[in-house]
């Protein structure tokens, strides 16, 4: 395949579009893949390109434009031939990404968010790219470069200036480490490809084993995997082409998590084997991996693994020679949308639509991909299921706690000596984890990502387990030098970028929450704003359509309760401050009149006054 920067314009637009469309059978449900591949060939999705794709896929043009406009990695405006995106998770911030990005922009004579005038390069930020243990990280044309330093910035700038094709950049730039620091049952498995499949008994037996193992979803919600498979298996396929599907959720968008990336790069066979077993149990012939756009670089290696498995008859017709056991797997790429980790938004995206969560009921187990019964599982869940199929439920149940059997793979980042991937039996304490990764003077842990829990030292005795602290695996550490207000503010920004915008409370509430946090950050916040923030958080929690909105206020709520001084120290007054910067509001008039006299300013002295609403002495009309 071609990288975007290989096209210098003038490419045969029609040819590229027709080629991609026919490769995908002009299938409207494959719109995501069509858009991505056309963009990889032509650089961006111009209005005429969208029209051509719509015609080719027999879709209303506005539908195609709506999909293109939804995903951050699709571009309906021309962008630089080199697109640099700086991962902007709080962990990247802590590793100094802001200064590095400023350095890059300065060297390129560019403002962040803009395209250079010659159309060569654009620089911007993006949500967490899942490289938190080796940040600060960037994506250049959607390929990750980790461990950015000033020197690396300079080298990248130089390569861009000299227009060196990405394929010729130093290979070590693109090195992504697994950083596996602690292995337990899953990561130290000794299964060869096919071992788990060879151990399979009847689908019913396997289902019973998965149920008996107590395995619960590792993607966050913690639903019983056995039950999910059973519901799905019992739900009939419908319509003209009834079928069942297995979907592997590899969207891994939660800030601070990267364990699925490591599982896919170090245990892909086990994950695919888990999917195959799920297919065997629920009666699916097809499995789909939804891989986040940030992990685009994993697609070729994963396809190679799939190819190998097909050759070994671990996939395809009559798997391992068992008549009637047909199963194959296909990889679908996302395009920069955290919300597509939510399983119903993911299904919409798989069907070539905007990633908007569906209403429930119906649930995916009865009506999922293309309306057919579908089991959506996290990468780690599927790998664990394969392990259980091979080694038995009884063995698995010896690991972990009574309510949380097995192990959990954690992605550890932030202030510690050894960030990376750690696997523990469930029930491990936060304190133990902190000790193992070499964290010192820890002030707080954000567990389960931006939408998770913020834990203060008094709670470090708590355990990672469904019955105490459930987590999809994100574990970010903040030492005493960190400002927990800024952590919460970073997450507030994250949710604004990632809200799908479907429902009122989240679409508007996340922005209002961010604005409130920014106002406090700029020293204009007061008790009034804190009250408003609580009101917004309540609204988000109660009324939002999906988990994103429902949890978007969590970190602000937690830090307001547990790290309140970090807010209070910023509150200038305790009553009311304007919603906007008064003095700045005169800026354009100062510019056009050239005035700078006292009457052309609001003096900020009154901000320090106790009442906060009085004017400064001497203000005159």
């Amino acid at each position: 395949m071609r990288t975007a920067n290989s096209s210098g314009g003038g490419a045969d637009e029609k040819g590229v579009i027709e080629g991609v469309l026919s490769r995908h059978g002009h299938d409207a449900t494959r719109l995501m893949q069509i858009l991505r591949e056309v963009q990889e060939g032509l650089g961006w999705l111009s209005p005429s390109i969208l029209t051509a794709i719509a015609d080719g896929a027999k879709l209303p043009r506005a539908r195609v434009e709506g999909v293109a406009g939804f995903y951050h990695f699709f571009h309906t405006e021309p962008l630089g031939r080199y697109r640099v995106l700086w991962s902007d998770n709080i962990t990247d911030r802590m590793q100094g990404n802001a200064d590095l990005m400023a350095r890059m922009c300065k060297k390129l004579w560019l403002k962040a968010g803009n395209v250079s005038e010659d159309g060569l390069v654009s620089v911007d930020t993006t949500s967490c790219t899942g490289m938190c243990d080796q940040g600060p990280a960037i994506l250049v044309n959607y390929r990750p470069i980790t461990r950015m330093t000033p020197e690396r910035v300079d080298k990248v700038v130089d390569l861009i200036r000299r227009q060196v094709p990405l394929a010729e950049w130093p290979a070590e730039f693109f090195l992504v480490e697994d950083n596996i620091r602690r292995k337990d049952a899953l990561l130290s498995h000794d299964l060869a490809p096919g071992d788990a499949l060879r151990a399979l008994k009847s689908p019913q037996d396997v289902l019973e084993a998965v149920k008996a193992s107590g395995l619960r979803g590792r993607g966050g919600a913690g639903f019983s995997t056995g039950q999910k498979w059973e519901f799905c298996r019992n739900a009939p396929g419908t319509g003209s082409s009834p079928a069942h599907y297995v979907v592997c959720n590899a969207d891994e968008g939660e800030p601070g998590t990267f364990k699925d990336r490591v599982l896919l790069s170090s245990c892909a066979d086990l994950v695919f084997e888990g999917m195959t077993i799920a297919g065997y149990v629920i009666g699916a012939k097809k499995g789909l991996v939804y891989l986040r756009g940030e992990y685009r670089y994993l697609m070729e290696p994963l396809n190679e693994v799939l190819q190998r498995r097909r050759a070994a008859n671990l996939l395809g017709k009559s798997v391992l020679g068992q008549i009637g056991f047909d199963f194959d797997i296909e990889i679908h790429m996302g395009a920069g949308a955290y919300i597509c980790g939510e399983e119903t938004a993911l299904l919409e995206s798989l069907e070539g639509k905007r990633g908007v969560p569906r209403k429930r009921p119906p649930f995916p187990v009865t009506s999922g991909f293309l309306g057919q019964p579908t089991a959506v599982n996290n990468v780690e869940t599927l790998a664990a299921a394969a392990l259980i199929a091979a080694k038995g439920a009884a063995w698995y149940k010896t690991l972990g706690t009574a309510k949380s059997t097995g192990t959990k793979v954690l992605s550890i980042s932030g202030d510690c000596a050894r960030p990376g991937v750690y696997e523990y039996p469930y029930g491990v304490t936060v304190a133990q984890v902190l000790a193992d990764c070499g964290a010192r003077d820890t002030q707080a842990c954000q567990i389960a990502g931006a939408s998770g829990l913020c834990i203060a030292p008094a709670e470090f005795g708590r355990r990672i387990a469904f019955e105490d602290i459930p987590t999809g695996g994100s574990f970010m550490i903040f030492d005493n030098s960190r400002d927990m207000f800024e952590v919460a503010r970073n997450f507030a920004h994250f949710f604004v970028h990632e809200s799908c915008g479907f429902c009122t409370p989240c679409r508007v509430g996340t922005t209002l929450l961010k604005n409130g946090m920014d106002k406090i950050h700029e020293g204009h916040g007061g008790e009034y704003d804190i009250n408003d923030i609580w009101r917004i958080i309540r609204t988000l929690k109660t009324a939002s359509h999906c988990g994103l909105g429902q949890t978007a206020g969590n970190c602000v709520a937690d830090t307001l309760q547990k790290f309140r001084p970090s807010y209070e120290l910023r509150l200038n007054v305790h009553e009311f401050e304007p919603a906007f910067d008064l003095d700045k509001a005169l800026s354009k008039m100062r510019e056009v009149t050239g005035r700078d006299d006292p009457g052309a300013h609001f003096h900020i002295a009154h901000r320090k006054s106790k009442s906060g609403i009085g004017t400064k002495a001497g203000d005159e009309a």
């Binding site: 506005a62 434009e65 406009g69 209403k359 009122t504 409370p505 508007v508 509430g509 309540r538």
Partner: protein, 259 residues
């Protein structure tokens, strides 16, 4: 309503409401003459549950603690337009908490768009405004976005003023489900989400919308307007001048425009 079939019922604010299998809470409630606020729900289209004005609480419980205090445990919150009614359910709608929530949601919509009612043709029959009146919303409360939005006057008969769009997707659904034209769709996401028209120019004039289409007559607010038909009903005689929105639950969502 009950015509002999096995009628089941649930409770809405302690009043018994009969329903038929498959009905949502709001359908059953409106049929029984009980109003639940709503904006994006319309009986003729598939509900999609985005505005969240119809949020209710289901099955709250009161428990007595060991020290003899009664504590209310709030039930789960859900959009009543997408939640199927179930027998014996206890649904709360008219509670201070939910009224406050709805007020907040209306205020969010009021600051997100640019709603200058005095110069809006829809004023007096606008669902958002009617709801605001009914809920006693006296101000938008939050800082205005003052977002820059367009007006599209390219169509001979229909004007679009995007300043007032609340993204309820009624026009999208009407055009897709009833007119089979797909004139409208959504693009962007989060706070950049916006309505688009089905043409390469993006202009309504280049689509095949007709003024008689369902999509042209379904907007609950003042976005999709018919040219030459503004301000026809005098102040004082418009829909919400004469009766509050909650007075007439079965006269569903948007009034048909006079074309």
């Amino acid at each position: 309503m009950s015509n002999g079939q096995d009628t089941k019922s649930f409770f809405l604010d302690d009043e018994e409401i009969p329903f038929e299998e498959g009905q949502t809470i709001i359908q059953a409630a409106l049929t029984a003459g009980k109003y639940i606020p709503h904006l994006c729900y319309h009986p003729e289209f598939k509900p999609h549950g985005s505005c969240k004005l119809c949020t209710v609480r289901i099955d709250s419980r009161t428990i007595t603690t060991e020290d003899g205090q009664t504590v209310k445990i709030p039930g789960r919150a859900a959009a009543s337009c997408t939640t199927p009614a179930q027998a014996e359910q206890h649904v709360e709608s008219n509670t201070p908490e939910l009224l406050d929530l709805r007020r907040t949601l209306v205020q969010m919509l009021l600051v997100e768009g640019n709603h200058f009612c005095p110069s809006c043709e829809k004023s007096g029959k606008c669902m958002l405004q009617g709801l605001a009146y009914d809920l006693g919303v006296m101000s938008p409360h939050f800082p205005q976005y003052f977002s820059k939005r367009e007006v599209d006057a390219t169509h001979p008969d229909v004007l679009l003023d995007f300043n007032r769009c609340i993204l309820c997707e009624l026009c999208v659904r009407a055009s897709a489900e009833v007119d089979k034209k797909n004139v409208f769709s959504l693009s962007g996401r989060g706070n950049t989400k916006h309505l688009i028209c089905n043409s390469e120019s993006g202009k309504l004039g280049d689509t095949n919308l007709a003024a008689t289409d369902k999509a042209a007559n379904v907007c609950p607010v003042g976005v999709i307007l018919h040219k030459r038909h503004g301000f026809e009903v005098p102040y004082g005689q418009r829909r919400f001048d004469t009766a509050p929105i909650s007075d007439n639950p079965v006269q569903y969502a948007p009034v048909k425009e006079q074309v």
